[in-house]
């Protein structure tokens, strides 16, 4: 299948107009992002045209579906702005993703939004999804909740979008309080630790490796600080509700994990029950946070719809 020469001309002139309508920018990354978005849409359009080329009159309809080129340019610019906002931290160049020898690759650091949507994606039934960056899996808590019958995949149109600010602030406060409590507990316990603390446990639950006590708080504090920093970043950058909730969940999870690890080392007792409790808490806490806020979001979505219905009813019967 191929595109008719005349249709290709149409596409070329359409994109010439769209490119001309792109807003001027001094940021080369943003300019590249806009061009990339346009190129994406161009290939999408060509695909559709190629699929439809046997039918007459389809070309014009497809072009019309894409809207006026000026509007398209505007949307591309908005898209590029959204993506290149945190350009200082995130790798941002088209060379880092695409296809090489027919294989897709993605070496970009994942954006907060993409990571968050891996943690809570009600539309994806998979409980474990491959990590966006690095090896292993991420738990999709929404799939777990959906399997348990706690939430439905379509409970919320956009996850947490309608959760009121006060609830988000509550989640923020709780997760940061948990991180702060972890740090405080570590600082309070550190002087009382024995000179050597267990650093590794065998399969039988007995400590089989030891380290100087000065090392014990390093990893727990670093992990907790990382969680708190993520929360702060997602709020200061004004991320979506989903990203903010996910950062709170991650912070709570990491704090619980850090507390578990440190307490286990501090307890220096046989068995790994404290560590396991920490692990369980690091899964249960984010799960609970997601579920509660998803319920809140659903509640407000329902209220919105009931209001809309009432309003449209009144309109019909004045």
């Amino acid at each position: 299948m191929s595109v008719q020469p005349r249709a290709e001309e149409l596409v070329d002139s359409y994109f010439a107009l769209a490119r001309a309508a792109l807003p001027k920018t001094a940021d080369p990354a943003q300019a590249a992002a806009m061009e990339e978005a346009l190129a994406d849409i161009r290939s999408q359009m060509l695909e559709e045209l190629a699929a439809a080329s046997s039918r007459t009159g389809e070309d014009a309809r497809i072009l019309a579906d894409f809207g006026p080129p000026e509007e398209l340019a505007e949307e591309c610019a908005a898209l590029a702005r959204e993506e290149s906002r945190p350009s200082a931290l995130w790798v941002k160049a088209s060379a880092f993703s695409g296809r090489a020898l027919g294989l897709p690759y993605d070496l970009r650091l994942p954006s907060a939004e993409r990571v968050a949507s891996r943690w809570w994606n009600p539309l994806d039934p998979r409980v474990l999804t491959p990590r966006l960056f690095g090896a292993g899996w991420t738990i999709n808590f929404a799939a777990v909740a959906s399997r348990l019958g706690i939430v439905r995949p379509d409970d919320e149109e956009v996850p947490f979008a309608l959760v009121p600010r006060r609830w988000l602030v509550l989640a923020l406060a709780l997760s940061l309080a948990l991180a702060a409590a972890t740090v405080a507990a570590v600082i309070a316990c550190q002087p009382g630790l024995p000179a050597m603390v267990p650093s590794h446990f065998g399969l039988d639950g007995k400590a089989d490796g030891f380290e100087a006590k000065a090392w014990a708080p390093v990893a727990p504090l670093a992990v907790t600080a990382f969680g708190a920093a993520l929360v702060a970043a997602s709020w200061l950058r004004g991320r979506s509700h989903l990203a903010r909730v996910a950062s709170c969940a991650l912070c709570a999870s990491l704090s619980a994990l850090a507390s578990g690890v440190y307490s286990q080392q501090a307890a220096a007792a046989g068995g790994v029950s404290i560590l396991i409790a920490g692990l369980v808490a690091s899964l249960v806490l984010p799960f609970a946070l997601f579920i509660v806020l998803s319920r809140v979001g659903r509640h407000y979505e329902r209220l919105r719809d009931y209001e809309n219905e009432k309003a449209s009813k009144e309109e019909r019967e004045p």
Partner: protein, 130 residues
Amino acid sequence: MYDMGAVRSHEGSSRVEDGSGSSLSQFRKGIVELAILALLHEGEEYGGRIVERLGEHPGLAIGAGTVYPLLARLKRSGLIDASWRESPVGPPRKYYRLTRSGGREFAAMLETWEGLSRAMAELLSKGAKR
């Protein structure tokens, strides 16, 4: 129909990951979309019931994991609309219904489908005779 959501998800390379890039699954998705539109053409329905009713046709071989993402996509492209409704019995439910453009799209898809299936039936019956 063009929507920015599709471009964004493409950007997120989710198309590659959920395997929908293969032409067969694209084909199936198109058919399931038509099935959903046909169901909603009869009247509005809630998600769980849509899954159930499509599940009554084992040949379609679709479950909740396919239906909900498609409902979300159809809603994004404006072909269907959804809203929560209180129910005198049972919990509130989110009902889906065809929009005006969804009705038009359904009519167009139905026409295409009928032409296709007629042609395919002819082609396949000839092949079987030979």
